[in-house]
Every structure is written in structure tokens, then in C-alpha cells.
Point group: D2
Chain length 295, copies 4
């Protein structure tokens, strides 16, 4: 059990986070399904792991951030999984957006090996990851949370402790993403209406973003919607994954959620019409098209 840190998953969120851990002076071991994504980090001094199972060979802390439940299971369990060589006392900080169920299940499996599991999903787009300005909510066993909190401050600006149950941190993440996507839909409807009313979208967006809705999601996503700039960001397929996780939980808890259902419809219509590679904010196209607006 070494003193370094392992980082598994070098996508457009994980990559800048790994950079920040490296720059802040940690000995960093990295892994990704495709090695190219790690090239730059290796040049800067990170060491390559050939498999997730090497995560705890030289490090006692491993971060992971991958795209869904299946991908997390793939790097955690089995012969190649990070639990393979994990020793009691190791800590897995799991940052993926996954189901609360899986989080709880993994916490149990980790604890059977004496390994600690901290759920720690992150909020923010890749730019925020670069700028160490992510918001992070985390949950897991108390003394471990205290131990790793300083590392989270390397990655984000606002760090919130949600207690013992790791599933709660993942639930909070799902709620956050639901609200975020809802705002995209809201703006889409408002802008479709504004456009057909003859109002300049720039003007009303500026007005609203400076008065009633002065927050980055409204400001930035509003801009993207008006410019129809749908370079991802978060791809529509991932957005659908998140809403499905949210609705799955809601179904289990008997919570009817009409707006979440609407978002689900919008995302399905997006995929059915071949927009899977666009940013999830491309659901805005639907409200526009239904109003007869073609860009």
C-alpha cells in the first residue's frame, strides 16, 4: 500500500481532475480504457497502470470517474478490478454519476475487504474541472470523509458533506442533473415563445440572466441554446442515462415526477432523431421545432 494516488477514467472530466491532483504535488498513477487519453499526463510525470487491478499496488487512495454503472463495475470487480489487489484501509473515491443502488452495493462489497468506499459525484462542465471550481457532494464513513476532504478541495471549490450513506451523494447528483436539464427545457420553451412573439433572444436572455435568473447555468446554457451550439459537453446519451437513473429511483420510491417524464420524452425524441452525439441541451430543438421555428 503506497502513498500515491491512482486515478481511473480520463474522460473530459477525469483528465483535468487528474492534472490538478498531479500539479498539487501528488504521486499519480493513471488508468484509462484507451491509453491515448493519458499521454499528456504521463509526459507530466504520471505513471501508467496496465489494469484497474494495479490501482492499489502503489497507492492507498484511488479515484474513479467513468461513464455509467456498467463501466464502474468493470473497473471495480472481477480479475481486473481495483478490488483485486486492494488491502484493508485502502480508499476508493467514486466520482461517477451512477445509481444510488450500485453505490450502496459497492460500499458493502468494499467493506467486506476492509476497503473504504466514498461516493463523491461532481457538478460542473469540463471547464470547471480545469479551473478547480467543481462543486462536489460526498458521503461515506465519517473518519474517512475527514481524511479525504482535503483532496476534494484540490478538485473543486464547494465541497459538501452528505453524511454516512454513500447512496445519498449519488441521489443528490441525480437531483442536480434533473434540475439542470429542466432549466434547459424551461429556457427552450421560453425562447420558442419569445421568438414567435418577435422578441430578440439575445435581449431577453440578457435581461433574464441579469435580473431574475443570474446564475451560470442560465447564463451559459441560455447562450448555447440561442447559438444552437450543441458541441458536447454532456452527450444526450449520458443525459438519458442520468434521467433514467433518476426515474428508476422515483419509481422505487413512488414519486410521480411530471417534469422528469417530459425530459425523458425530449431525450428519447432526440435520440430517435439521431442527435445522440449532440450535447444534451439539444433537446431545445424540440420545443423550437414544435413551434414551427427552424433556425
Amino acid at each position: 500500500m503506497g502513498t500515491g494516488i491512482s486515478f481511473l477514467g480520463l474522460g473530459n472530466m477525469g483528465n483535468p481532475m487528474a492534472h490538478n491532483l498531479l500539479k498539487s504535488g501528488n504521486k499519480l498513477f493513471i488508468y484509462n480504457r484507451t491509453k491515448e487519453k493519458g499521454a499528456e499526463l504521463i509526459q507530466e510525470g504520471a505513471q501508467w497502470l496496465n489494469s484497474p487491478k494495479e490501482a492499489f499496488l502503489h497507492a492507498s487512495i484511488a479515484f474513479s470517474i467513468v461513464s455509467n454503472d456498467q463501466a464502474l463495475l468493470a473497473i471495480t470487480e472481477g480479475n481486473e478490478g481495483l478490488l483485486q489487489n486492494a488491502k484493508p484501509g485502502c480508499i476508493h473515491i467514486s466520482m461517477s454519476t451512477i445509481s444510488p443502488e450500485l453505490s450502496r452495493e459497492l460500499a458493502k462489497k468494499h467493506s467486506e475487504k476492509g476497503v473504504h468506499y466514498i461516493a463523491s459525484p461532481v457538478f460542473g462542465r469540463p471547464e470547471a474541472a480545469v479551473q478547480q471550481s467543481l462543486s462536489i457532494c460526498f458521503a461515506g464513513k465519517g473518519e474517512i470523509r475527514q481524511q479525504i476532504e482535503p483532496l476534494l478541495h484540490v478538485l473543486g471549490k464547494k465541497i459538501y458533506d452528505f453524511g454516512e450513506d454513500p447512496g445519498i451523494a449519488n441521489t443528490v447528483k441525480l437531483i442536480g442533473n434533473f434540475l439542470l436539464l429542466s432549466n434547459i427545457e424551461l429556457m427552450s420553451e421560453a425562447f420558442a415563445f419569445a421568438k414567435k412573439s418577435g422578441i430578440s433572444l439575445d435581449k431577453i436572455h440578457t435581461f433574464l440572466a441579469e435580473t431574475l435568473f443570474p446564475f451560470p447555468i442560465f447564463q451559459n446554457y441560455g447562450r448555447l441554446i440561442i447559438d444552437q451550439n450543441f458541441t458536447p459537453g454532456l452527450k444526450m446519451t449520458l443525459g438519458l442515462k442520468d434521467i433514467n437513473l433518476f426515474l428508476h429511483e422515483a419509481n422505487a420510491l413512488n414519486v410521480p415526477l411530471p417534469i422528469a417524464n417530459l425530459l425523458h420524452e425530449r431525450l428519447l425524441a432526440g435520440l430517435a432523431n439521431h442527435r445522440e452525439e449532440l450535447d444534451w441541451s439539444a433537446i431545445s430543438i424540440i420545443a423550437m421545432e414544435e413551434a414551427g421555428i427552424t433556425s
Copy 2:
């Protein structure tokens, strides 16, 4: 035609606005359907008008802020209406939340008498009116807008010029209220889900209001929803009026608006269940009840 200012409509928005105009040194003439509302202002030096038709006897500028299209028509037209004694060059600054249609129609009727009509709806709850921190969007004839803009700065902090067509300013107001009420519904669904997930509503509200959604509507309405503090503010009946105006416009423009329709359903259910005297944020009760949550 005098140099004073008349102010018609002394409800919980109009009253503090009139106060601010008086305090800033204007000679103020006031009118309200029930005189009691004006008592304090009279004590501070305002002069009482016995009828809207006296608005332009001693003043060349009249503000009005009343509760709906009918009320505005009642103080504008007919033998008792403010147009009765209006002389060419007088200016009516109309701040009510009304239909864009009526706004355009009144602009035409005013102009037939040489009177100027400026639509100037305001955003903010009564506290913001007291603090002169309202947001105001206004529209109407160019040179008149320039002339009255300094007066708007007495009432609000953020003043936005939306051009020549007075209907546009009213449309912007309807869009703003739609987005505001949508946020109430969004929070209601999110909080119902959070509560059944076992998350402290205080905690998740704080988290969201400090990270992704750091804006007053989320902060303040979120608090009201959690505390189930539904003292109006804006009564549910007025909320329904606004959504109906919005949907009426959307119908005329062929814009399908699923979330606006949901809000309409929520408000109707609120009224059908005798909540008409509560703040419009009491629509949040429905998402809670449907999830089986009773406070």
C-alpha cells in the same frame, strides 16, 4: 397639466413604489379603490384623488399598477377613467401584469388623445419594491422612454428598454413569471423526491442554492416551500391569471408549452382544493401530496 405625479393602485406592490416616488421629492397624487390603503401616504404628504379621472388634473405623468386587465380598463376608460381629463402630452406608465393585447389596444386609444402609453411591468416581491430593487422592463415611444427612464430608476435597480412596441414589455413579464413559477414546480418535484430519498431538505436546498442555483428565486422560494410558508406574496388566483395570459398568447402564436400547461394544471388543482388565498408557491403541495408526503 401639472408637474406632479399621480399613482393609481396602492396594493402591496404599488404602495411601496408610491412611497419611493414621494420620498424622492415628487409631488404625489394617489388613488386606490379603497382609500385606507393610502392613509399612510397621505400622512406623508401625498394628495388624495377622488377618482382616476383626476389623475391628469395636477400631474402630467400617471403610474398605474392594478391586478388585471379588467381593473386597468376600469381606471382608464369611461367617465371615471384617467383618459377622461388627459391632455395631449400626458404620459401613462402602466405597470400592471396584463395581456400584451390590451397593452397594444390601450396604446392606440391613448395615442388617439395625444397621450403617451408606456408599458412598464415590474419584477420582484413587495420587499424588493420597498428596497427600490425591482427589475423593470419597459417599452413604448422612443423619446418618451428617454424622458421617464429616470423615474423608473427611483423604483428599481435594473431597468431594461425593450423598444417601441408596448406589448413586448408585457410579453417579457409573462415569460418571467412563467419561468419563476416553473422554478417553484421544479423545486417541489426535487424536494418531494429528496424527502422520500431520506435527504434533509435544508441540506440539499443549501447545497443547490450555493452551487448550481445561486439566485434569489431559488434561495427564497426554496425556503418558503420547505417551511410551507404560503403567506402571499402573489396569490394563487393572480398566478393563474398570469399563466392564463401566457397560454392565451401561446395559443395565438401556435407555441406548444408542456411545462406551462403543467403549471396551469397545478394552479387549477390548487384553486379546486381551496388554496386560492395562499401564495402561488403553494402549488408545491401537490407534488408533495402525490408522493404521499403529508407535512
Copy 3:
């Protein structure tokens, strides 16, 4: 006051109805905004009226069936309206799909002149009008209902008496149309799902129409949707009119109606995308398109 019957409004419903009245031996006077529509009837012996105001010159009973509230007002009131020459005891059988409000208001205005107003909206497509197989619900003053019921049996097969309040008959009509359009939407969603599941639409339509849903609306509209045969029938604009009347009533009564709102969205999207000349069943295109199905 003569013994004939006047018939005002010779559209694709009114025309075959007038024919049936003529064929059953009545002396028939006809009026339509454009005279061409009456050519065939005139050849068969009907007499032309130059204005609605002549309706009660030679007849004591007048039927009317026009496209909306405005059109009905136009042929009823004013100098050219049928009330102009109506004498006490005359009967106006009003078959248009109009607002219950207007129906009640007209009943009152008729009664001030001693004229009887019977609301008697009809259900069925033009083919059913030809075949005298319409369904008709009617309401109005008791003894008058008895008197005119035989005439209704000339026009339709199933005649239902809804009592004294004429508005009720119009409300029933709005409910019927709501349910009918809902069935179109239901089939659209079901067929979009079936098609993407790889099921033959002919096969599942036959199955459902012969087992669970063995009724003409399902059978006939299902066929039209599958064949994408959107020749009107009832144009989308008239469908929107009906849903708007329904939602207007629902708003006044505080009844939240999520499916009616969905239908409203579908119709608006249809009009926004230039389908106003198609049959209202063309809303089915939307569920298909959202599922990525292009015919």
C-alpha cells in the same frame, strides 16, 4: 310564421342534413354564406334565402350549423340575423359546436323575443350525416324538446335528451370531441411504439379493433392514421377550436386536464408546422416523428 323549415349553414355536415330534411317531405328554405353550396338542394326543390334574417319569414323552425361562436353570432344577431324577423313561438335548433356560455346567452336573448332556443349538437362525420346515423344530444325548454324531437330522428339514429339547460348539450359535445381526439392520440402513441417494435400496424390494428376496442372511432380513425390519410373530415383548426372551448370551460370550473392539455399541444404543433388544412387526426404525425418514424 310558416310551416316550413329553414336551414342555415350548408357545410359538409349541414348539406346532407338539409337533404334529409327535404327528402323526408319538409318544405325547406336554405341559406349559406356562399350560395354555390346550396345549388343541388335548390335543384331538388329547396328555396334560397337571401339572408339569415329571412329564416323565420316562411318557417317557424330554423336549424343552424356553422363553424364557431363568431359565425353563429353573425347569423343570429344584428340586422341580418335570424332573430330580426323571428316571432314569438319560433324555434331555433342550434347544432353548431359552440361554447356552453354562448348557448346560454343566446337562449336568454331568444327568450326575450319569445323565441325558443334548442341546443342540439351532433356527433358523426359527414358520411354519418348522409346516412341519417348521427348521434344527437339536445337540451332546452321541455315542451319544445318534445315538439322537435321527431325532426331530430330524421337526421340521426340516436337522440338523447339532456334536459332544460341548453349549455349542457354543448358541454356534452365538447366532452365527446375531447374523448375522440384523445383516442387519436392514444392510437398514435400505440402505433408508433408498435412500429418500432417491428409489429405490422395492420395486424395490431385489426387485433385491437376486433377484441378490446371494437368501435367505429377506433376502427375508422385507426385506419386513417395507418394510411396517413388526412383528408378532412374535421380540419385541425376546428379541432383546436373545440379543444380551446373545452379547456376554457375547464379553466372556469377549476378542472385540471392533463390529456386535454397534451391534445392542445399537439394541435398547436400541427398548426405551427402548416398542417391546418389536414384532418385533426394528423396530430398522429407528431408521435410518429418524435419516435423517429418517417413514413
Copy 4:
């Protein structure tokens, strides 16, 4: 491999179906999780099986009808499952409402043992099962379908062949249930509106059921809704299961289904408010309550 027939699952649908098979002269072997349900059948000559694994000991054909995917797996697979003693050539006629996915998966597992799997879900309430008037759609391998079709005619009146892919038959069943539940919601909204309009529910139900909607679902469920007679029938929990299967498929196929989502919301609200033991038509309570109608 015997010449008898086994029947697994003696709930309120399976029981009368087993009776009908027995009465038509078949040697019948029966199994149910709780034996009491089979008492009457045993008295009439059916023989009890101690485990599903005995299904193919004395019979070459086994019917099964249980409540969901899990229950079907439990009687099919493992040491106690019917596949345990199945010999090549045996036929499993699977009548449960389950996911198309499971149907396809089971077909494959059966075929690995040379056993034939026919999906054959049934439509109708328990009364229809008693009266041999069920509607049945079935799918599976061609020559086997021919072989078993006569047996289906013992159980139902309308039998439809949906071809080779067993999943299709299950998909058809899900579509049927979706449409059925949609009709319940439609009637609920229509009746809530009618009631607040002052229309007698009996009267409008009779009118609609005799004219536009003359089919048993409308007639019977309409009656149950008006009488608020929610004795199950199909319990709300089972209704939720079916809608979840439907939405799960729709999600996989990218088909947005707004009405299915609404039904899902209604069922969740029903369960959240402790109506899980009522018939699924009890979702009608929600439209009524939202309109402020308390029985």
C-alpha cells in the same frame, strides 16, 4: 412424456382457465404456490403437482400464468423449475404478462433443451376467463402454433396469431394494457369535468357508451369509475408492473410516450397514497381529487 396438460398458476385468471381445460376433457395436472387455490380443481379431478419440475412428468404441454417476470423465472428455471424434467418436444404455453425480453430469452433457453416456448398472453378480466371469452394473441414456432391453437380456443373466443417471435405477443399485450389504462384515465378526466359542469355521470356515461364509445371497456370500467367500485380485478401494483414494462421497452426503442408517462405518474401517486390493494381503475380518484371532487 404424457398426454395430459399441466397448468401452473391458479390465480383469479389461471383458475377459471384451468377449469375450462378440465371441463373440455383434458387430463389436468395443476400447480400453484399455495395449494388452497387448487382445492376445487382437485375435487373435480385435477391432479396436484408438488413442484413446477413435475409439470412435464405426465404431460407434454404446460400452461403457465403467473404475476410477473420473477415469478415466471421461479417456476421455469433452477432445480424446481419446469425445464428440469422437460423432454425434447414438450411445449410451454406461457400466458403471463411479462417483458418481451424475458420471453425471447426463455424461448432460447427452452430451445436449447428441445422444448418449445409459445408466448400467449390473454386479454380479459376474470369473468371473461370463466366464460371462455378471453382474447388471446400468441407467437412462437410455426408448426407448434398450429398444434396448440385448438387448446387456445378452449380458453378464449378470439385467437390471433402474431408469428414466429414470441416477444411480439408480449409486446401486443403491453400495448393493449396501455390503451386500456389510458381509457380509464380518459374517462376520469371526462367525468371530473362533467361532474363539475353539473352533468349526471350516469347520463353522460350512457350516452357515450351507446353512441361514440360502444365497447365493453368503456361500458364496464366507466361504471366502476362512477360507482367508485375498486374491488380488484387487476391490482394497482400489477398495473404499475405492466406500465413499467411498457415504458422500459419504449425507452429501449426511443419512443416518447407522454400518455404512458402520465399513467405512470397516476399509478405512482396511487401507491404513494396507499391504494395498492385497489383495482388499477382507482387512478380515477386522482383526476377527481385534483378537480376538488370528493365523493
